[in-house]
């Protein structure tokens, strides 16, 4: 009996269960690193821990798609209680039965979100931020401000463009916007998009997967334009770099970021409390001001300098294109093959 108890204690010690302050709840959150981590810790996690007395363990390993692969591989028991992903994984996870349904009865602030944006993420995702694909450029290198996605084809940008790899959803959204710009649509008539991307690839310096590496090319000035999420683009503007970004006239596609709970999470109640706290008006204001992104809440105060930069589904409806993400997910393998065949070889 004594040996069994010793063994159980050892197992608990090794697995880390029971660590932390005695009696305190622990919430394991899987999210992103870099500036995201710094800002979420300061503006959301620390106030949450103070208010609820729950310890948060922050795991910054993996992208949204990698996190979803982990949830799928473990059949909903990935070892974290809450994960930051996007609407694509939210919908897929709900369909596969791997993510918890979120309801206003346990998360009242879900009622405060704009219905159209909530619908994009489905019943298993709480939309906590909205960004959009913008065109980021060097103000000290381009003769004039670009206005259209077609600017990426301008001879002025020959060998001055860098592109994301297809595994970065930015590439998929850029492909779709190039399709719309050239007479196609978001999913069914994508040929014009591939034709345009083949041309952009030919005048690019290549492809990179990580946003941080993509950003480094623009920072040092070897690249003058690239697609980028507007929140991170705004952080670069705030740093005082000679860069700016636009939402091109043809419109753009939003990146709807979500908070999700895997079905096998150990601390679902704490995870629900965190989601409700993050969606709270004051938290959303703190997050928008800190990470320079948009919110799914329309009742929050937005810093003056961001007001004209953000797009929302209401007034900017014609400029925001919302693809059917489940259908898009089905198309990805075929598009990926075509991308590798028609787009990638044109670089260099």
């Amino acid at each position: 009996m004594g040996a069994k108890r010793l063994l159980a204690s050892l197992c608990l010690a090794i697995s880390g269960i029971g660590s932390g302050t005695a009696g305190a709840e622990t919430l394991i959150i899987n999210s992103y690193g870099g500036p995201y981590e710094d800002i979420i810790r300061e503006r959301i996690i620390e106030p949450f821990e103070k208010r609820f007395g729950i310890d948060v363990v922050y795991d910054a390993v993996g992208s949204a798609q990698q996190d979803y692969a982990k949830i799928k591989a473990t059949q909903g028991r990935p070892g974290f209680d809450l994960v930051v992903m996007t609407a694509s994984q939210s919908l897929q996870g709900c369909k596969d039965g791997l993510l918890e349904q979120l309801t206003p009865s346990s998360i009242p602030n879900l009622n405060a979100l704009q219905g159209e944006l909530s619908a994009v993420a489905g019943g298993c995702g709480a939309v906590h931020e909205v960004q959009y694909l913008s065109l980021l450029y060097r103000t000290d290198k381009l003769a004039s401000q670009p206005t259209s996605w077609s600017a990426l084809l301008d001879p002025e940008l020959n060998k001055r463009v860098i592109l994301p790899t297809f595994q970065n959803i930015m590439a998929v959204y850029l492909l779709e916007m190039m399709s719309v710009t050239n007479g196609g649509d978001l999913i069914d008539n994508i040929d014009p998009g591939f034709d345009a991307m083949a041309k952009i690839s030919a005048q690019s310096v290549g492809f990179e997967q990580s946003s941080a590496i993509l950003e480094s090319y623009l920072r040092e000035g070897s690249v003058w334009a690239m697609p980028f999420w507007n929140g991170r683009a705004q952080l670069m503007v705030d740093e005082g770099l000679p860069v700016d970004y636009i939402s091109p006239k043809e419109g753009t596609i939003p990146l709807v970021a979500t908070l999700n709970i895997p079905v096998g999470a150990a601390n679902k109640d704490a995870a629900r409390k965190f989601i409700d706290f993050f969606l709270d008006k004051s938290s959303q204001e703190a997050w928008v001001a800190g990470y320079r992104v948009g919110s799914a809440r329309s009742d929050i105060s937005v810093p003056e300098e961001l007001k004209d930069r953000q797009l929302t589904v209401g007034p900017d409806g014609d400029r925001l294109h919302l693809p059917d993400l489940l259908r898009l997910q089905e198309k990805l393998p075929v598009w990926a093959e075509r991308w590798e065949r028609d787009v990638v070889p044109n670089a260099r």
Partner: protein
């Protein structure tokens, strides 16, 4: 009768002792291999023949592998890259291994440490080092541009060349160790005798050392080939988006497209490639040995 019984008894007891001991000794490793190798391997094989939605048996993933054009290209690219790495590791490693096997100077310890030093740093660290040296804005291109030797950067990264350079660096210590063990097994008196009979140093190497070290060469080639074929970090970082090998393609299928049956097919293709190469190597070596034993028997 008694003496016969006494004679037979001890071997019978020895047999009984031997019968359970090997199993007991092997059981931990057999258990680990069964749970963490054979079982996942079986699941992977099963998955490659399973339809994603209905879980019914299918060959559609194999059909896609052979017809989509990209997967077979990735297979061929992997084979070419691994072959080039195997050759360069063996060619570059042989002189170092020979020196280490034969030298008795104090430099031997220094060269040995230098040969194995790359293993002290992780693969990712070493690969990033090569990225800094080879990329368009890297050390070599910067230097050549500043000296005015070139007007635009040479394509040293994001291609086969960069991956072969990076992987050669990663795998070289293993090739050297394999070759060194083989060369150490060759009696140095053979070389001395040949030189005393008038053979030049080069002739000794060509006609005595090289033929006798073929097992080490085969082993070095096999180790380098299999390590290169299954490498992920170096091709992913130095190869770029345009240079996809099976390992990076499997990663994409598992993590980005979540198409595990198709990833299983690619993993099967990679496994079969490595098994085939190992089979060819082992078969070549055993044939060579049997030929050698026949010819030496004939001389006797």
């Amino acid at each position: 009768m008694n003496s016969l019984a006494l004679d037979l008894h001890p071997p019978a007891r020895r047999r009984r002792t031997l019968s359970w001991f090997p199993f007991a000794a092997l059981s931990p490793s057999l258990l680990v291999l069964s749970v963490f190798f054979a079982l996942p391997m079986g699941m992977m094989i099963g998955m490659s023949f399973t339809q994603t939605e209905t879980f019914s048996p299918t060959l559609e993933h194999y059909q896609r592998f052979f017809t989509d054009g990209l997967s077979l290209a990735g297979f061929c690219r992997t084979a070419l890259m691994s072959l080039l790495v195997a050759v360069s590791v063996t060619v570059l490693g042989y002189p170092v291994a020979y020196f280490l096997a034969r030298s008795t100077t104090r430099w031997r310890a220094v060269v040995f440490a230098l040969a194995l030093a790359p293993e002290l740093a992780g693969v990712v660290l070493r690969t990033y080092g090569w990225l800094i040296i080879l990329e368009d804005r890297g050390f070599i291109n910067d230097l050549l541009l500043q000296l005015g030797v070139i007007s635009s950067p040479l394509p040293l990264s994001k291609n086969l060349f960069a991956v072969v350079v990076g992987l050669t660096h990663v795998v070289l210590p293993f090739g050297i160790l394999s070759l060194m063990t083989s060369i150490q097994g060759i009696d140095p008196n053979l070389e001395r005798a040949a030189q005393m009979l008038g053979a030049s140093r080069l002739a000794v190497i060509r006609t005595i050392v090289l033929p006798l070290s073929v097992p080490g060469i085969v082993s070095s080639m096999l180790i380098a080939f299999t390590m290169a074929a299954s490498a992920y970090a170096t091709p992913a970082l130095l190869g770029g988006a345009g240079f996809k090998v099976l390992a990076t393609m499997i990663y994409e299928q598992v993590l980005f497209y979540i198409d595990w049956p198709f990833a299983s097919v690619m993993a099967m293709a990679l496994l079969l490639m490595m098994l085939a190469i190992s089979f060819v190597g082992v078969r070549y070596e055993s044939r060579r040995r049997s030929r050698a034993s026949v010819s030496s028997g004939g001389e006797r």
